[in-house]
Subunit: 528 residues, 2 copies
């Protein structure tokens, strides 16, 4: 700590801020009281130094042996595991998320596991996807950007999506690009701890010292300027639609690829037979999924579609009872609390009624009462944009649909989402409805889920954590799952008539990594 502010990690070292435009402290969301030290909001000079340093490190990092990159990712993962108690305690204090199981048993292992999956993708070179055409003398693969990546982290995963530890970070580094991490200001001490582990691991593994840099916060105007700075090769963002669209506009204007995840309501269709078979269980699971982490998940079930009729009524009554009985839940920040209150107000103004819960914010700290809203399918069809606004927190909107045809029409009315779920009967009685609704939903969601609630996101190569606009900025990419997530931060490069010893190793005849490559149209691990 220097003077009265924490140091920033810029240009390869922890240093006093040059021109902080202010300072801030983390707040305990359960009490609203400030905790921990003061952190700087970085100014233009600090940021410029970070950008220059990252740009200078980019060529060196791109030329670094992949084995060292993988060693770094593994070493960082080990350091996170070894620092688990301190990390979990710090994140708990700053976010209000439960230590167990959420932070200690779920999110932290997921974060280190994700870094190790990135290390494995680097070691087996799979992400470069070499293609060799011996007849045309052409060879191509995915390669580093040779420019830094700017990562904006969200509030809701202090580890797994942290700008200096999450999937964007792991993916960008795996593709050998330096990262400037703009952490979320709601958990600065957690971010500082992670950045210290990352920096130490980077130095120990021989990466250029400016490969990892950390800013705790910057003014929004400076963020927009950065997003349009062509010294960046790409941008990763996870957060609100408002912030995401503003950054996307700045990046688009400068021709910088931006991969922004920007909210989702994750429609869940409950089919009649499923409710008949296990309505009470589904109501219980729904309540758990909607309120887990105080509902602050990108894949929170924000809209649940329930058929008209007795089984649907019973489901609603059962769920309503749970929402009604629940105590107000701690949110990450006053901002989240305010946005949630605004969203609920807007949904009510658009015709949603309060089915259960208090639909209101409260204290101490930043809390909101779990709330169940409801509307008829016809109302949704008449006002679909307003009624599919995300309410980030422990709030869901139940849509009652009249019959299968209306359910299909509702599925067609959804904009792009991360996920879409269906629950069908085990006896086959919902199968026709399943097919019709799934057909409408499929192109509108990144992940189609059968018989499960959407809140779990496995780190898997077969994951799509992404979806059509406006849930993300590009439906062709995922932000979770290796090696796919790495392609966001890579460019496709071809070598035409280039002598073997001038090629990158994964494209050479000798195939030094013994990898599977597409050679003259067939998969091969041999020399062409």
């Amino acid at each position: 700590m220097v003077g009265d502010m924490e140091q920033v990690l810029i240009a390869g070292e922890w240093r006093a801020p040059i021109d902080a435009t202010g300072s801030f402290r983390a707040l305990d969301p359960a009490t609203g009281e400030a905790i921990g030290p003061a952190f700087p909001r970085s100014g233009a000079d600090d940021v410029e130094l970070a950008v220059v340093s990252a740009a200078q490190a980019a060529d060196a990092l791109a030329a670094t042996e992949p084995a060292h990159i993988a060693d770094f990712l593994d070493a960082y993962a080990d350091a996170i595991d070894a620092t688990k108690d301190e990390l979990v305690a710090t994140a708990h204090a700053e976010t209000g998320l439960p230590i167990s199981p959420r932070l200690a048993e779920v999110e932290l292992p997921r974060t280190s596991g994700q870094l190790r999956q990135a290390a494995q993708a680097v070691r087996d070179y799979a992400w470069t996807q070499p293609v060799i055409d011996t007849k045309a003398g052409l060879r191509a693969h995915f390669a580093p950007l040779h420019k830094p990546v700017l990562v904006f982290g969200p509030n809701n995963f202090p580890f797994a999506f942290n700008a200096v530890a999450g999937s964007d970070f792991a993916s960008a580094i795996a593709a050998r690009n330096p990262v400037i991490a703009k952490a979320h200001p709601s958990h600065p001490a957690t971010s500082r701890l992670l950045a210290a582990l990352a920096h130490d691991a980077a130095v120990a593994c021989g990466l250029p010292a400016a490969s990892v840099q950390l800013l705790y916060d910057i003014e929004p105007a400076l963020g927009l300027r950065l997003a349009g700075d062509r010294r960046f090769g790409a941008i990763g963002f996870t957060g609100s639609r408002t912030a995401g669209l503003a950054l996307k506009a700045a990046a688009d204007a400068a021709g910088i690829p931006i991969f922004a995840e920007m909210s989702s309501v994750n429609p869940v269709f409950l089919l009649p037979g499923a409710l008949r078979e296990r309505g009470a269980t589904l109501a219980q699971e729904f309540f758990a999924s909607c309120t887990m982490g105080s509902g602050q998940f990108c894949t929170n079930p924000g809209i649940v579609l329930v058929p008209a009729g007795a089984d649907g009524d019973a489901f609603v009554a059962c769920a309503a009872e749970k929402f009604e009985a629940a105590a107000p839940m701690v949110l990450f920040s006053q901002g989240v609390q305010r946005h949630l209150a605004d969203a609920v107000q807007a949904l009510r103004a658009a015709g949603a009624r309060v089915e259960a819960g208090k639909a209101q914010a409260g204290g101490p700290g930043f809390r909101y009462a779990p709330t169940l809203l409801a509307a008829d399918g016809a109302a949704f069809l008449a006002n679909a944009q307003a009624l599919q606004r995300e309410a980030f927190g422990p709030v869901s909107l139940l849509l009652r649909y009249r019959d299968e045809n209306e359910a299909v029409a509702l599925a067609h009315a959804f904009d792009g989402n991360l996920t879409g779920s269906l629950f069908a009967a085990s006896d086959g009685s919902d199968d026709v409805a399943w097919r019709r609704i799934a057909a409408a939903l499929r192109p509108r969601v990144g992940r189609l889920i059968d018989g499960k609630w959407p809140t779990g996101v496995a780190v898997s190569p077969a994951m799509q954590h992404g979806g059509p606009y406006p849930s993300t900025s590009h439906a062709g990419f995922t932000s979770v799952g290796m090696p796919g997530a790495i392609h966001r931060f890579a460019q496709w490069q071809s070598f035409d008539n280039v002598r073997d010893d001038r090629l990158p190793p994964d494209l050479r005849d000798a195939n030094p990594f013994g990898m599977q490559r597409r050679v003259d149209g067939v998969w091969s691990d041999h020399t062409p």
Copy 2:
């Protein structure tokens, strides 16, 4: 022909325009005289009908058996081959491009071959890239957009990049998306002929009739409105930077992925030893590459870097002689002629001198004298943006570099390009320079070329016809080469816990296509 205007292909049939905003005729570029019939410039009602029809066809096309899509692509390719004489004669009349070898032996076979490669990619399903994680219960692949694709074709390849026959068209259809083709107005009869073949093949193969639609031209304002219409799933564009950036801004604002190819100067580095060994041959090859097709190639060698000294002087003298002796060359249109004159004037204003040729436009028709400009490396470094402006036509800028260090600095000064080429000595004397310059050039170009001129673009899975911004809008994608080009028009979709019979065939346990899939981290053509 209806009244005095040709019919448009909209909503599955050839029909009279509803609200043409004007009409135009093709011009013979060698004479400037109008040839052939009048074609409508389509108005908002025609365009709206096309968009509605395409959107309606999208789900049906996405659900079409891939085998039928492949049959269509093959049938269309066969029809193009069978109509070769008429196509070639029509394109020659409208573009001034030589019948032989260019149109008859190069571009037409390339076009039908490209359609057949797309058919093959559809048949072997390789473009869907299935990934299966049996432990997590997740399966993912690339899938259709379920929305139409809007393709803007360029002036310079009446077949191979035609909006209704080229790579964008083939790629979008291969991914089972309907296409609205906005043809280039400089070759309407060629586009009509192709569209007729495509439409007949589509109907014969059972594709939805509105899978292929053709607009000969629209007002720019209507084009911008279309580019921002969220009923489109993606946009393909090949053309000028000005038009490309305007369309990109409209598409970006609406969240529509646009794949725009927008000009390139394709730097070529001639190293000292190469000039010593074969300077005269290189001068001859350079002249041929620069003036082929009247220089109207995206990969035209627009800037050639020549070392100071006697061998460099001899190369310049030899090239200058050829440019000086060449007759003015026929360009595609008055617009191309005017833009070329503007570009040459701007380059001269930025400090380039005329080394050879007349640097001027002339007649009959639309001609320009092959022209060699020159500047010193230091001048380029001082004014790099102005001096790397594209001059689309038979014009190149020679940059004289003092030494290896200046050559490396020049390589660093280039913006994103489609290609970058190096010519080195065979005796190894240029090897150090090659490595240093190539290292600087590599991240700035899509295709790095060794010892060849850039004008040939092979249709190969190992091609990158694309490059960093502003040469294209996204360096992660290629517009030429299957299956890569198809991914531009696809979305990544995951299936979570979905029952086997509800999965698309390529993700089912039985692996009905016997394809190579990534299953639990390894390549396999078996049932998991």
